[in-house]
Symmetry: D2
Subunit: 308 residues, 4 copies
Amino acid sequence: MADLQGVLDEIAAEMSERRDRGAVASYIPQLARVDPARFGIAVALVDGRVLTAGDAEESFSIQSVSKVFTLTLALGKVGDALWRRVGREPSGNPFNSIVQLEHEGGVPRNPFINPGAIVVADILLAGHQPREAIGEILRFMRFLADDDSIVIDHQVAASERATGFRNSALANYMKSFGNLDHSPELALGVYFHHCAIAMNCRQLALAGRFLADRGRSAGGHTVVSAERARRISALMLTCGHYDGSGDFAFRVGIPAKSGVGGGILGAVPGVGSVAVWSPGLNAHGNSQLGTLALENLARAMNWSVFGA
Amino acid sequence: MADLQGVLDEIAAEMSERRDRGAVASYIPQLARVDPARFGIAVALVDGRVLTAGDAEESFSIQSVSKVFTLTLALGKVGDALWRRVGREPSGNPFNSIVQLEHEGGVPRNPFINPGAIVVADILLAGHQPREAIGEILRFMRFLADDDSIVIDHQVAASERATGFRNSALANYMKSFGNLDHSPELALGVYFHHCAIAMNCRQLALAGRFLADRGRSAGGHTVVSAERARRISALMLTCGHYDGSGDFAFRVGIPAKSGVGGGILGAVPGVGSVAVWSPGLNAHGNSQLGTLALENLARAMNWSVFGA
Amino acid sequence: MADLQGVLDEIAAEMSERRDRGAVASYIPQLARVDPARFGIAVALVDGRVLTAGDAEESFSIQSVSKVFTLTLALGKVGDALWRRVGREPSGNPFNSIVQLEHEGGVPRNPFINPGAIVVADILLAGHQPREAIGEILRFMRFLADDDSIVIDHQVAASERATGFRNSALANYMKSFGNLDHSPELALGVYFHHCAIAMNCRQLALAGRFLADRGRSAGGHTVVSAERARRISALMLTCGHYDGSGDFAFRVGIPAKSGVGGGILGAVPGVGSVAVWSPGLNAHGNSQLGTLALENLARAMNWSVFGA
Amino acid sequence: MADLQGVLDEIAAEMSERRDRGAVASYIPQLARVDPARFGIAVALVDGRVLTAGDAEESFSIQSVSKVFTLTLALGKVGDALWRRVGREPSGNPFNSIVQLEHEGGVPRNPFINPGAIVVADILLAGHQPREAIGEILRFMRFLADDDSIVIDHQVAASERATGFRNSALANYMKSFGNLDHSPELALGVYFHHCAIAMNCRQLALAGRFLADRGRSAGGHTVVSAERARRISALMLTCGHYDGSGDFAFRVGIPAKSGVGGGILGAVPGVGSVAVWSPGLNAHGNSQLGTLALENLARAMNWSVFGA
């Protein structure tokens, strides 16, 4: 393996100098005021080492990166029955498109676009009060990262809810097709809270390590089977960056999931997980420099899953 | 490595017994009359060995599998300028959808859906008569497979043209947006001919081996750079099975491209290429048993790119 | 003029015998339990006469017919500024489609599809509490029909709200585009209540008479200008029957607006208004026998606006 | 009746001064070089009088106005069976949209959008050579206008064909759904030729007079039944101006059909027909000043079908 720490340091140094940082999400004040100059990266190797560079200890809103974890939890609950309510195809549309729902009877294309994640949240509600479901998700994150300091930013959750009319439209629309068991408000409550989890790159890389290690968590626990880890990774590769997923696979080649807070979590099978954060977004709503950093990292380390 | 020959034999044996073989394409007589009981598989390893099972020496119409090779040729001609005329995102639509073209100004989503491949054919026409462009493609296939017996089935090409009104609609539509340099008839002529190339599994696996071997062909020639081989593989994974691409990645996890003749070509990075053929198709127009065979093969050999 | 009373009697008699009555709306119990055998018709002539046949004195839920009246009120409030928030083109889609909203930035095609009427309700809320806005609409109906016995069926309104997830989706979606001034809940509250107004054919014909009489109400008051009456009638003709509007214009040729309760209100310029009610609906959600009755009436009386 | 000649003169005078004339169609040179300053208007009353103003004797390319006449001919040939292959709903889309065809199985929404008119041309080909079908259409126009000097501009037809890739896409697309009996080339040949008919306002008003006079032509012949005249008029009102039809009905209120050459033919039931021509087009592809002229005429003469 090349000098990974050196590569990370070089990437962090290069990213700190870039001017083309994209635009920070501005739809809620908590995201809008994040400093666009931030950049952090962390790698959690399957051998147990964790390497970081830049602002890897600074918390950010993981937003849609959380969808990887709620999907994992929901698959644990209902197994492949989940796929009767959510597809697993790339959407070919932005993250919040409602058109596809109309054409396809209220079944979202995949669990990583908003409506898909809202159905997953609805599944996690089964037999629970919203507070319990949210608590279960948070405990799962703490367990995976082996870090009890991870919290939900309730101000972010409240802001999301106050402005989340499009998500509310998506939830109500699916409810009208019978694809939510609970009320749109309850499912959205869970959804907005798990999107508001705050983590730093180190924590996020640790939490996602099981995807790269045949389902084993950083703490050595079996979280999912090796096959399920592969399958979740496949979904991340084909669907993890909304309508920029194809381009991300083409350029980077690492299964990864992005969030509008500027975070991206990637998993290199058998090697380790990587979390990167830079708040400025590209036209598809994915971290501009985070994508570039992963592209450079994959090239330097030959980490593309398509590489020989 | 597990006993690959044994695995292939077992898969061929199992597939010969399956009843759920899908439906053979019926839109032209040459495809409609193919025996649905056929099944062949071939693997071309990067160490030079070629292993086969079933009807691996029987020729079939490679159809859309040819799009991998015309894309490779066109990238060699115009490089990344190609991406100004074709996208690289999954389409979220069937192979011959025209809706996306209207919404996106005549630019096809990716080079593996029909309109994308017609643009690629148009690129290959530059400076050529159609006959020359078709000849160049055929020579490329022979060169890659190191086999001069590969031919075009002109009856298939003629039938495709006689019934290809939807492809003609797509070509004319893109022409109306200025995204074809030549007449729709000329571009379609090239397209219908390369789809009519006839090959057997052994030949197809050999021809596609460069994708698994950092761009080096079966004969040891550098066909493309390692990076380009990775990128073409990424496109195959995200876009190679039309609107069933996500499901294929989820179940199989091997970059692959299917054709309506029932063939699928896959590339396992650093390991080898695999060609499989079974004429019956599933609901997405991909080989029903070919997909299942690759799923079993990937599981048995741990060949998913998402595996640790 | 032919013997109008005789024509109405004949139509009512014929309709009572028809078996092809369509299907009663079943999405809320209050509509589902309406007797499909009902048929009523009433004509309010500009000369002051009112003629009826069948169950013309039986109240039904006017549902979307109310949109004609809320549009009239809203135009009185904000004039042509209304058209900055709602289009006036046929939708080419079902009444509750959300696709067009996505393509057209949250601006509904016309005021007679659900999202358009929700924007109109939002306009009527300006400066008002919901209760006041609803009261204003009800008073307007009573004034137009000169009948204080008209009421809102609050059970219907409550049922609509409890099951109205698709309308909630539409409202939230428009809110996300900034095309609602008030909260989706408030606008929907007004919308569900005006759809729940209960009237009989006699009352409805009287209420709509101003459209046929250059803007003058049954009571002799000027409700709108002659030009505005023409324009509202034009909208009824092109948009009054959702994606069955073209067919209705082709067969009947009278500007008219239908509701899912089985009512239709038509306006024959210079002649009079007509209200018909039969609860069974056709595939487009318009009254099956109501449409047929109006077709027969228009033919018998030469009331098509396209007739010489 | 108000002083019609005076009204026409006033309109022509006002239109000659307007600066906001829209943009002349530029997709073929024959249309692009038409002088945008032209304006003509003619009215053919059912009492036999013909009144004109402006450039009413100057020929222009009637383009899509011809679709009214080919529809009339095709209905005479196959009657209501035509509606099995073409709908009669407003399209809610531009004149050359292909999206709706995909969603609706190759059946165009109405006979006045391009794909609908191409199906109509296909119907007129039954049992004919293209030359004969084109000749029949031309003879029909001459018969209606009682004027043998009407011709087809073959240069226009040739230019349309040379650049008509989108229409070719539409025709091939419908052929792929089985909704053309003849080859796309043949149907397009008929279509391009009838769109290339050249007429002046006087001729066009005379040719369309049967629509306003219960089916009787200017020469006193019964062309269609009164009911069919009503129904064709209804289609003109709901579908005659592409996705600007609703707005035209709202503002003008006269059943009318526009063409990209700047002509519009309207029919006022029981009164007469009106042809107007001004080459500059608005955003929907309809004559900018032609629409305004008809709006002014309808208001001055109270000719809206929605007027009392």
